[in-house]
């Protein structure tokens, strides 16, 4: 065992990379849940994003186009959820599960000829001066663009929910769809937009795994990250900045256990590999006491009878 081989600077830098897929998926789901919709299909949308991003970037040679395709792919899959829950008024839990099962199959089908290929590299941006700062430079300023986009999305979601009229309407729809409907807001339309946004974010998160973090395509490669993202929204009490905090916490656990595996700690690999899931459960337990911050209409079906 050689714990000295773990470099703290590299650890924190890779923590940010490991956290980004969870962060993207969770911030998207946060917006969806703020609008009063519970979409359990995050895992499915992520994996479809992962494969579409991978396929397009391999075909075009451009990681940028890959990420765009991933967002589109995730959003496209979420339209199925929209059809089920907003048009056909189906149960949201069941529909979300359907989305995940379908997405896992679809991605395996789409990704068949991409197994074992390397995607074009997503370049890190080097900001002169800033990235040369010792310790902080490599941690904060030598990452790819998408990582910063993720943080920017968190900031934007926070600002929009807190300071703008659009954010207020979104929250109103999530808190009481009947009241929002009575005030003349288009509940279904607003929810559709929120679900599409959530799908696009999940797609981006998925593509971040297949294009940056791993980077390659294997079946079922998201391995529960989408579900951890769902747990993270609860963990964050539906607050954007806490999503960032939580994502870094989970990213940290993932990276740390990988580092411990590499360092040859006396704990079997399998037990280290299950730690992120166990810690997710632990965190859920600690934070489930306080349900007051959940949007009041979360998961309820809206049907305007009049």
């Amino acid at each position: 065992m050689d714990l000295g081989s773990i470099n703290p600077v590299l650890l924190i830098a890779s923590l940010m990379v490991a956290a980004t897929p969870i962060l993207l998926a969770a911030i998207g789901e946060l917006v969806v849940e703020k609008a009063g919709v519970l979409n359990l299909g995050v895992e499915g949308m992520m994996i479809v994003g992962a494969v579409s991003g991978f396929a397009i970037s391999v075909e075009t040679g451009s990681p940028f186009l890959g990420f765009v395709a991933a967002a589109v792919g995730g959003a496209l899959l979420s339209t199925l959820f929209i059809l089920l829950t907003q048009v056909a008024l189906a149960n949201q839990v069941a529909s979300g599960l359907a989305l995940t099962l379908f997405g896992l199959g679809l991605s395996a089908l789409m990704g068949q000829k991409y197994v074992g290929i390397k995607p074009p590299p997503t370049g890190d941006i080097h900001i002169p001066l800033l990235s040369d700062v010792p310790v902080l430079g490599p941690i904060l300023f030598t990452h790819d663009v998408v990582l910063y986009v993720g943080i920017a999305i968190v900031a934007a979601v926070w600002a929009i929910l807190k300071f703008t009229r659009a954010g207020l309407i979104l929250r109103a729809v999530g808190e009481s769809h009947d009241a929002a409907h009575a005030l003349g807001y288009k509940v279904v339309r607003i929810r559709i937009l929120a679900i599409l946004f959530g799908g696009a974010c999940a797609g981006l998160g998925g593509a971040y795994i297949s294009l940056v973090r791993v980077p390659q395509w294997t079946e079922g490669m998201t391995a529960g990250v989408g579900w951890i993202a769902l747990a993270l929204v609860v963990f964050a009490s539906w607050k954007p900045w806490r999503v960032l905090l939580g994502a870094y916490l989970f990213g940290g656990i993932t990276v740390l256990q990988l580092n411990l595996q590499a360092a040859g700690v006396a704990i079997p690999v399998e037990y280290l590999a299950m730690s992120p899931y166990l810690i997710t459960i632990l965190v859920l337990v600690i934070l489930s006491k306080d349900k007051s911050s959940a949007p009041a209409s979360l998961g309820r079906i809206f049907h305007a009878s009049r």
């Binding site: 359990l40 199925l80 059809l83 089920l84 056909a88 008024l89 189906a90 149960n91 839990v93 069941a94 529909s95 599960l97 359907a98 099962l101 379908f102 997405g103 896992l104 199959g105 679809l106 395996a108 089908l109 068949q112 079946e219 391995a223 529960g224 579900w227 951890i228 769902l230 747990a231 609860v234 079997p268 399998e270 037990y271 590999a273 299950m274 899931y277 166990l278 997710t280 459960i281 859920l284 337990v285 489930s288 006491k289 349900k291 049907h303 009878s305």
Partner: protein, 359 residues
Amino acid sequence: MIVLEKRPQPSRMWTLLTPVLAVLSTMVFGGLLFALLGKNPVEAIRTIFYEPLFGEFAFYYRPQLLVKGAPLVLIAIGLSLGFKAGIWNIGAEGQYIMGAIVGAGVGLAFYPLDSIIVFPLMVIGGAFGGWAWAMVPALLKVRFGTNEILVSLMLVYVAEQLLASMSLGLLKNPEGFGFPGSRNLTEYASATSWINQDVGMHWGVVFAFIAVIFAYVLLNRHMLGFHIRLTGEAPRAARFAGVRPTRLILFCLGTSGALAGLAGLFEVSGPGGQITIDFNIGYGFTAIIVAFLGRLHPLGILLAGGLMALTYIGGEIAQSQLGLPAAAIQVFQGMLLFFLLALDLLTNYRVRLRAREVA
């Protein structure tokens, strides 16, 4: 303009009709998918649904129907109890794995003792493994209000890691030349679940039928079953009627866990044969589709389990004969759930045409 009018009560006719319509729609759209993949859609659909039952080699495939259907029905029956009451156990896959590990562990502990008590003890072990694994989300939900969906699902990944650890470590075959995986239980006469391998009969099939009957009686003739239905259909009324949600959560999650564990045990000591890293093949998730396709009704689940087993077997035939990718069948099964949920609209709402009013 199309308007939806909520029915005072779900339509009986549509409740029975929607699964049939969903299957037909899936055939049409699945056929389209197969056509996109460059296969003859009619032939593909025929291979999946007709070949295993009446084709040239049906004598070989028909027993498979029991083998594949039994775990699906067993798990889905358990899940349906919870789903009816709005308790979402979606970690059946994990409970299935734990049942297999504990049950096989009991059996292997007795190896090579030849006794009639080995298998019953394994059955108890399997049920206990699944039950205990489901008790984690149940107790956390009861005690801390933790979301059972997320906890039960997280535990699937934990169980998968445990499975890997077991097949590489504790339960590894000491005479296996270092290969991962346990001893083959089908070669240990006291521990196998096979009754007659030629017709696909194993104890899992028997238990699946017992579970169907048990669930039917419970839901239609027993107070607890009534409470389950009441909680799902009218939670407020259930609270006034004195239904104790705690008891219900523990019962529903515990039963579904035990049944999933049993399914895992019968699989590992029969068709599966041994504990290996890739022992689980997603029955726990497919059973969710089976439960919904069967309308959460025991008899419906029996039929749905048979149908889903058919798509598994037909899918394998289509894979070898037509080169249809395995993932296409997974998409096909996912599609089925989609259509079912979408068409359920007709069960709960009346679709009316009405002149557009000023909103």
